[in-house]
């Protein structure tokens, strides 16, 4: 069939009109952006404010309270930025994992037929998601700093574990080669556990029999490193000791990180719980009944029949919650955790380059958010129902 000949730019053609409108909108947006950009440049130039990212190579000169990589005031701003980005990724990463676990547990508890469990979960959700997060952060930070004793009166609930208003101090691995072997053994354990899972799956498909996977996995993950440690006659620990103002050595969980993580996790988990609940309820009850009729236990009904279907409903809104958690982590500076925003703010203060600093903040959060949603979208596609 051949299309009738027509004027290609006929404004009466709805498709051409749609194109024209889009071009117009695009043009306006471009114009607006250009205006704002040139206005900013002009203002910045008139005020005599330096511009550009040349400052990144200069010595930062400020100290950062907690760092994942070695850092000192003599390092350049670029490295301070790296420290900030890593600190942001640290809270976001740990926060997302913990919020998912807690949210799933609470969401399932919300559907429990046990009245107490059900009501407790509901109370949790309503209390947490209806109070502004910043207030919750102040509360947790206040509890940790005002509620705990000073380092010289630190609580020692377990030997070598100290709890004070300077945070939680734990023994850490000392500078001892044994630890590398232990880590290698753990890595091997992970690989073997994965292999065992795959093998078990195949076996079940062939014979219908399943091995008890949990003890096997645990044995591999904990047993292997344990054996290595025994073989080496133990590995040296770096114990926290009170010296001068504070504990030295060991591993520290600072009150800032603890309060931020706790606040972000409990808050976000309340939202995730609701998503999980609604996702599970979205799966028709007939599915559960059918699965039960087949003789599956309740736990396996949930795991094998309900959750896989619920996940399709759960993943997209949960992705938004992950993004929210990441962005909310920028409240860190309110309670003194040195996240990227905090580091960038100090940089802006020192260099006066507010536009560059804010652009850097936006770029970092954009990059993190886009990567996170790309990952989640990929996962979402993977678990999507495929027509067979």
């Amino acid at each position: 069939m051949s299309a009738p000949p027509r004027n290609r730019l006929n404004p009466n053609d709805p498709r051409v009109r749609a194109l024209l409108w889009q071009a117009l909108v695009l043009g306006l947006v471009a114009l607006g952006t250009w205006y704002l950009a040139s206005n900013t440049m002009a203002n910045v130039a008139r005020l005599g404010v330096a511009s550009g990212y040349g400052f990144l190579g200069r010595e930062a000169g400020f100290q950062i309270g907690e760092t994942l990589v070695a850092y000192g005031p003599q390092d350049p701003y670029a490295r301070a930025f790296l420290v900030g980005v890593l600190n942001t990724l640290k809270v976001a990463g740990i926060g997302i994992v913990l919020a998912t676990i807690l949210g799933t547990v609470v969401g399932i508890a919300r559907l429990s037929r046990n009245f107490l469990v059900n009501r407790l979960a509901a109370g949790y959700v309503e209390a947490l998601r209806n109070v502004p997060l910043l207030l919750q952060l102040f509360l947790w930070y206040g509890v940790l700093t005002e509620g705990l004793p000073g380092p010289r009166q630190a609580l020692e609930p377990l030997p070598g574990l100290f709890l004070s208003n300077r945070g939680l101090k734990l023994p850490g691995p000392a500078d001892d080669p044994t630890w590398s072997w232990v880590a290698a053994a753990f890595g091997l354990g992970v690989l073997l556990a994965l292999a065992a899972t795959a093998w078990n799956k195949g076996r079940q498909a062939r014979t219908g029999k399943r091995l008890p996977l949990l003890p096997i996995t645990l044995g591999l993950l904990l047993g292997l490193p344990g054996l290595v440690m025994l073989a080496f006659g133990g590995a040296a620990l770096d114990m926290p000791v009170l010296k001068g103002f504070n504990f030295q050595g060991g591993v520290t969980l600072t009150p800032e990180l603890a309060a931020l993580l706790f606040g972000l996790v409990t808050y976000t988990a309340a939202f995730i719980a609701e998503i999980v609940r609604s996702g599970i309820q979205a799966v028709g009850h007939g599915q559960t009944e059918a699965a039960l009729a087949l003789g599956l236990s309740r736990g396996r009904v949930l795991r094998l029949v309900v959750l896989p279907q619920a996940l399709r409903v759960i993943i997209p809104p949960t992705t938004s919650q992950f993004l929210n958690l990441t962005k909310n982590s920028s409240l860190a500076v309110a309670i003194g955790y040195p996240d990227f925003v905090s580091v960038a703010n100090t940089t802006i203060n020192q260099t006066g380059q507010a536009v560059e600093g804010v652009a850097a903040i936006m770029a970092v959060f954009l990059a993190v958010s886009l990567s996170l949603s790309a990952l989640m979208n990929w996962y979402n596609r993977r678990i999507a129902l495929v027509d067979r």
């Binding site: 704002l36 206005n39 900013t40 203002n43 910045v44 008139r46 005020l47 005599g48 404010v49 000169g61 400020f62 100290q63 950062i64 309270g65 005031p73 003599q74 502004p132 910043l134 102040f138 930070y141 206040g142 700093t145 005002e146 000073g150 208003n165 300077r166 010296k243 001068g244 103002f245 504070n246 030295q248 009150p255 800032e256 920028s330 409240l331 500076v333 309110a334 309670i335 003194g336 040195p338 925003v341 905090s342 960038a344 703010n345 100090t346 802006i348 203060n349 020192q350 260099t351 006066g352 507010a354 536009v355 600093g357 804010v358 652009a359 903040i361």
Partner: protein, 342 residues
């Protein structure tokens, strides 16, 4: 309570630069202030002795009095001021973006800041950075602070000097950087940090008004930096800068000449021609600044001379109990010195 999110702060700071049109800048600040009938003055969110709102929302303090003096000189009424409380991080951009006419908020004059499109008026308080500790630590010198945890507010020169001092003395420390002053103070008094650091005047104000037992806290003897605190205006409006500059000088000169808020009227008839020129009874100094002849007389009469302002807000009769020290008149061995009024 106003919740300040630092992300928002930062974004607003940039937006200030992005969005500010040519218009806010076009007329000199003097015209804008006169047309508005009000001076918009950027102050602290609350620091005893410098700028502190009481329960009725009435502001007092040395920085507040500087704004009141400028309002009296320009508008004839020291009460025609609108105060905009600003955190350390917001203040400079608020001024650059034209949200305020003058920043009078314990702000240290430094080269970087001066070069950021800002101009500093004369110093109103010569200060330096110090350290405060709980006496129970047994620390008596800043040199003993190796390994200490230090609470500090971001957006300050304090944050920068801190690292310098510890580096220069080969000591290590852990900073806890919290945005709002209230929260920094809370963390320090809860014992989260061993040390609180800021300008010594600020430490004195915090100890006097925030600590439950001020006597438990010690300000260490070391003063580790120079913090000349001065009002700030935008670069490029020379007339406005001159007005702010000479209003501050008028307060200092009035002290030197013995003119007070109580005797300002009598002194109009002083036999000393210098006093007559200062108060506008003779000459046309006010006109040279674009102001009415009574500009300085009004400022001194309504607000007091520098010495009065100091004693009222920071001196022996206040909880801060600060000595004049560097802030005495040059005649008394201090640094307060006004160029000639002629």
């Amino acid at each position: 309570m106003s919740l300040r999110f630092s992300t928002m702060t930062a974004a607003l700071m940039a937006l200030g630069l992005i969005g500010m049109g040519g218009a806010a800048q076009a007329g000199p600040t003097l015209d804008a202030v006169k047309a508005r009938g009000q001076l918009v003055c950027g102050v602290n969110t609350g620091l005893a002795g410098f700028s502190n709102p009481d329960s009725q929302g009435k502001w007092t303090g040395l920085d507040v009095d500087v704004c009141r003096a400028v309002a009296a000189a320009v508008l004839g009424d020291a009460n025609k001021v609108r105060y905009t409380p600003l955190s350390a991080q917001q203040r400079l951009t608020a001024l650059q973006a034209g949200e305020i006419d003058i920043l009078s908020r314990n702000t240290t004059w430094s080269l970087t800041r001066d070069a950021q499109g800002l101009d500093f008026a004369p110093v109103t308080y010569y200060d330096g950075q110090g350290f405060m500790v709980n006496k129970s630590l047994g620390v008596t010198s800043a040199k003993q602070l190796d390994g200490a945890t230090v609470c500090v507010q971001p957006g300050t020169t304090t944050e920068l000097n801190l690292a310098d001092y510890f580096r220069a003395n080969n000591m290590s420390f852990k900073p806890v950087v919290i945005e709002a002053l209230d929260e920094v103070n809370a963390a320090f008094f809860a014992g989260r940090c061993d040390v609180l650091t800021t300008d010594v005047s600020g430490l004195a104000g915090i100890r006097a008004t925030v600590a439950t037992k001020p006597d438990d806290f010690l300000i260490l003897p070391e003063v580790v930096s120079k913090e000349p605190l001065a009002p700030v205006v935008r670069h490029g409006d020379d007339q406005w800068r001159d007005i702010v500059r000479w209003t501050v000088y008028a307060l200092v000169e009035a002290e030197e000449k013995g003119v007070t808020s109580a005797n300002a009227d009598e002194k109009l008839k002083s036999a000393d021609p210098g006093v007559q020129r200062l108060l506008g009874a003779q000459g046309d100094l006010g006109k040279l600044l674009g102001l009415e002849p009574q500009w300085s007389h009004r400022a001194v009469k309504q607000v007091g001379n520098y010495g009065e302002i100091f004693e009222r807000n920071l001196g022996k009769s206040t909880p801060l109990k600060l000595e004049r020290g560097l802030n005495a008149l040059w005649l008394n061995g201090g640094l307060m010195y006004a160029p000639p009024f002629r």
